[in-house]
Symmetry: none
Subunit: 417 residues, 2 copies
Amino acid sequence: MKAELLATGDEIRSGALVDSNSAHIAERLEENGIDVLRHTSVGDNLDTLVSTLREIARRVDVAVVTGGLGPTTDDRSAEAAAEAAGVQLALDDNALENVESFFKKFNRPMTASNRKQAMLPQGSTVLHNPVGTAPGFSLAIERCLFFFLPGVPYEMKRMLKGHVIPAVNALQGDAVMHNRVKTITTFGLPESLAGEKVAGVEAAFPGIQLGLRAHFPQIQVKLYGRESTASALDRRLAEAGDWVMERLGAHVISENGETMETVVGRLLVQRAATLALAESCTGGLVANWLTNVAGSSDYFLFSGVTYSNRAKMDVLSVRPETLDTYGAVHEETAREMADGARRTAGSTYGLSTSGIAGPDGGTADKPVGTVCIGFSGPGGSYGKRYCFPFGKRLMNKKIFAMAALDLLRKELLKTGG
Amino acid sequence: MKAELLATGDEIRSGALVDSNSAHIAERLEENGIDVLRHTSVGDNLDTLVSTLREIARRVDVAVVTGGLGPTTDDRSAEAAAEAAGVQLALDDNALENVESFFKKFNRPMTASNRKQAMLPQGSTVLHNPVGTAPGFSLAIERCLFFFLPGVPYEMKRMLKGHVIPAVNALQGDAVMHNRVKTITTFGLPESLAGEKVAGVEAAFPGIQLGLRAHFPQIQVKLYGRESTASALDRRLAEAGDWVMERLGAHVISENGETMETVVGRLLVQRAATLALAESCTGGLVANWLTNVAGSSDYFLFSGVTYSNRAKMDVLSVRPETLDTYGAVHEETAREMADGARRTAGSTYGLSTSGIAGPDGGTADKPVGTVCIGFSGPGGSYGKRYCFPFGKRLMNKKIFAMAALDLLRKELLKTGG
């Protein structure tokens, strides 16, 4: 079964917005055995939308269109779909209920323009949007079944999973081929070196395709498999995955796409341990990542984001002599920060960062990219210095934060679960 | 002058890689007065490439193609271009020199497959690549001038700027039109309401186009202008922008795309003021945003990310009676947190967040989405409660953090600069 994707909107056409939806949709469709042949992006011009829909309808069996379902006058997907299919727009009761229930649930006033969102092409099937005001719809144009989804990524993802994937799998019936990608997330190896270590996987496991993707500061090793049964696919990917992970060793963070903060969180829960942080150069990023995980309040107690030296002394009890002798960026300062965070919060572990994220503040001795990471646990404390070769502030914050969590991860793995 | 973009490669087609090149190219072309009508992405299949090139050649004057110039057998852009133009591939001496000089410069061995990169369609003009092995080329197919560039973003950007933009401007001659987008960033209005407030701008300023973009939790109002001179364009956009900003009032954060944290940082600098935070539900996100701005150490002193009640009491001196009587999520607790952060750090201002980001922890009284924001300044302190209608943890963290910074922004504006 062949598919195409269409992303609509002047923001995408003019380059104001990067279209990340199409990659997500392509990946999910391909996993379900659909061949995605082409992605197209056009603006909000009605004639262009109509002619593009007609072109796609002549080429493929299934299409997913994103964007243009909002309440404003430049949202024209329903109008274009109706014209391409040669039908009228009509108020859809189910769609109106979707819009109204959203406003009711959140006790917000519904405007006249929101009513427009319930005007759908005749003959279409409404696709309920559980998380937004814009209902989607599906509609056949010539021999192609189109799915129209909102452009907001998180609404689109929910509706793709809830409506589109089940519908295309029902259409495919027994002819389905199973495609899947196994994602092995690593930290601490440059892309070229990671690539060399795992290059042999395609020869060792015929049919498996290898892809490397930099997801700074992590490198993802992707294994693409395709089999006629789900169980054969699972087995094949598991074998190839084990081969790859053996070669990457301790650099492997997860084998299922899990983030560093999820992995560290689970290790802490398994050990019934708690954590406090002292962050200087990472500015709260480590705490922000950790608290993105639901349930993190079970193990994360506190972070002291101490940009000023006064806060390092007052909140974390770093000794003034240490700051005088070594400065804010030093192994000993980082060690005292980690000890201080742990003592202040009464946690099992303390972890700290102090470094120079840039663009200014570097010296010959401690250039931009230098970070000292402190660790404190029941068995003692220490500080460790790293120097990363990146000039950009946001890149440095990310790699400093990831290096700190990776140090904690390795310490936790040493203690057993 | 009309243009289209084509991104090639199985990684993009299958969704393994998000195509960020097309947005960049579209933005640069539009700035130079070229109308970008459509972006297309296809895989490495030769027939598909050839037919897509021919389709584009029939529709527009200029096209930019990215990817497929590498040394491997699935890099087929030159082959496809030759077939679409009806010419042969031939070894291009200038291109070969580009490839050879790159390997020489970096003292790396050149392989036979790299020689393939110098095989270009007859009649094409080589485009020197100063930062990689793959030279690009330009070639007319029917009435359209195609530019073929590497897919590596930083090579593509160098060559777009160095070769493509000068070439299309030479083609346009005196007919060049200037396009630009003015971005007004707002917070606190739903998209539909913001849209209604500013809907009249197109009628009031003929030639100006309006676009709204949700960049959660902010709404960006975009004004697209097009004039024959840069000065007329500046004037037109300034007038339309003033009209829009008057209607959006205090919801306007910036009129030049600046982020909330940049605006708040500048307001603090202008007042020679400093800031300390106490974050519970936002988990360090406010501090992380603020410290993404270079130079933030001039005004940002400290954030106490106090997930545990113990840390709220020990670090921020929140009174145990307050926590007992009102709980962690309450105006009074937020007020004491802001006071405590300000006192601990010795800052001019204190700002705090305490709320329920979800997915669990909500009650009938304080549902998920509830946040109390505390403010402390020289004139006193207070706490304020908000309830946002979003169910997702990461969305709530973002909107809580943005609401806190917006409250601070409004307080700072009251004090004058």
